[in-house]
Symmetry: C2
Subunit: 354 residues, 2 copies
């Protein structure tokens, strides 16, 4: 019986991606060697790296004359400090929309002044802050476009006159948008891209001239850029699997098609939440995420009964984060609508049973 894995990350990938990446561990294409044992300087891996970097820009609709892609290590958490280390000269600007924004702000403070222009902490981050002004000329404005824990997502970008940086770990490539509004985008792979172990960074090449202090090599964007994202041995398997996911995305209509699919999936689930009197949505309606759907029972006393039904249907990874409680259905790109239908049916069945 198929498992329906709603994990927030590491999370589901397309079954074809699992198969191809599993095969490559045995033998990459027909070269007689495992993907894991070839040099990262081999023509085979250099081709993988180049294709992954190019395809990321193609999917985003960005020009390779203006942007470059790096596959680094350390997750979004490493980007929190790298951004400030490289680019916080006078003041880093931040919007605080959740746990990960809060962590990004904490790391930035080690490198200089930080202006937090707005926060949704007053309502346990159930909305995206709006109506704020950016008055003190920050070196950059940093936002978290999708808040995995709280299930909120930016549907309109802030206006700012400075470079816009975004943590897109949990919503990269989930929809069409004008990626050229961003100067730097980063995403830990383990949601929409691939396995844990690499972080995709799409960055404007012109930013390389804005690095404002002496930065150790491994933390320096320019060092990685000048070495074509191979300053040292890259995480070969993780990058290859990201490439497989991006190929899958491209072959299925790119961001336009995946956006339609993601809206269908999330609408189906939000409709049930809004129409089923046993549940309430957590996130403010205007700011609902199409990737992470957070909802609570109207009364916690029903939890064990609902959990039994979920288990019967082989639904896993759906418990909410401790700071929100309830449930969180992470419905990333690779999730098929059939799994959402099973969840929605379970919710309906649960209502009837009460």
């Amino acid at each position: 019986m198929k498992k329906h894995n709603f994990s927030a990350g590491p999370s589901i990938l397309n079954q074809k991606v699992f198969k191809e990446s599993s095969n490559a561990v045995l033998e990459l294409d027909d070269i007689g060697l495992s993907l894991l044992e070839i040099s990262h300087r081999s023509p085979e891996f250099v081709a993988i790296m180049n294709e992954a970097r190019e395809l990321s820009l193609k999917l985003s609709g960005l020009s390779s004359d203006e942007y470059t892609t790096l596959f680094l290590q350390g997750g979004a958490s490493m980007q929190f400090l790298m951004i400030a280390y490289n680019f916080l000269k006078t003041r880093g600007g931040y919007i605080n929309s959740g746990t990960w924004s809060t962590k990004a702000i904490k790391e930035a403070k080690l490198f200089g002044d930080v202006s937090e222009y707005a926060s949704s902490k007053d309502k346990n981050f159930n909305y995206i802050p709006k109506d704020y002004s950016i008055s003190d000329n920050p070196d950059y404005l940093h936002i978290t476009t999708n808040n995995t824990i709280f299930g909120t997502q930016y549907h309109k970008l802030p206006d700012c006159n400075c470079p816009l940086f975004a943590d897109m770990s949990s919503d990269i490539f989930c929809r069409k948008q004008d990626y050229s509004k961003f100067s730097l985008i980063y995403a830990g792979a383990q949601k929409n891209l691939g396995p844990a172990g690499t972080t995709m960074v799409i960055i404007k090449e012109s930013l390389m001239n804005k690095i404002c202090r002496e930065v150790p090599s491994m933390l320096n964007y320019k060092v990685h850029f000048e070495k074509d994202s191979m300053f040292n041995t890259p995480p070969v398997f993780a990058i290859y699997t990201c490439l497989l996911s991006m190929r899958w995305l491209k072959n299925n209509g790119g961001l336009a098609e995946i956006e339609k699919k993601n809206i269908s999936k999330s609408s189906l689930l939000y409709d049930e939440i809004d129409n089923n009197e046993m549940f309430t949505g957590f996130a403010s309606k205007d700011d609902r995420s199409i990737m992470n759907v957070t909802f609570n029972l109207i009364d916690e006393k029903y939890k064990s009964a609902f959990d039994v039904l979920l288990k019967e249907q082989n639904i896993s990874g759906i418990n909410g984060h401790r700071s929100v409680g309830g449930y969180r259905a992470s419905i990333y790109n690779a999730m098929e609508i059939e799994s959402i239908e099973v969840l929605v049916d379970t919710m309906k069945k649960f209502k009837k049973s009460i």
Copy 2:
């Protein structure tokens, strides 16, 4: 026809490890989910992480009361800067035995004074420096126990009164030794441990109190230690594959047995180099590595002829690094003696053919 892969890293792993790790990408044990899609907080992955950390200490003969193991990201290059960021208070002490030591020294200089007590640069790093004194009370002494590019290896450790730190990326777990002489050991996985994408750090817990400045979270050993090596999402696949390699090592007699095997393998090859008049060894005899065997042709004019024979035998990854030229046979733990025999036979055949 079997390929004989002498790559310096990423490099060969045991075939059983490839098979098991490939299977886990399809389905981990019998849980109905891929290793890549389960939460790092799931009981399954927590058990993997715990076993990997414990087994690393068991193999080293170190007590878990005194030492802890972390699986971090960023390779040895990230450790170069983390070591200095955390522990270089007054002066970092370094022995320069090659390219990677040189890089470690470069990164350390960003954080304070560095004393380079000895270097073998005068002879293109073909030996391990000896006979030096450590006079100025460094915060630590850093060595590179095996120099992948030059094929040299420490067979006697330096005497010092300060904590001894070692980059063991290319010789971790290749031999029995008294690991308790070290306060910090690190190794990029992609030679003796697993795929590229994680770095094993074995560190004395008492060092956590010696962190000498405010260090960003992701670069702070204490942060990772306090979170049981799961401060943020770890590189799940790479760590699991390291565990498989360590299990394989343990099930085959641990470090005592692998040392015997590695000595047999390297002796066979060094004997041929010393007895075959077409070749000369690169590294000083006393300091020869049992992991990376570097040798040159007596005359470069023979290169294309020898390369043809190597290719016929399906020998790959054996070209020397550009700074040494000639050949480098990397014969890590997972390499079987049969591959060395094929290489030695090819060298004999080559001599006859001239």
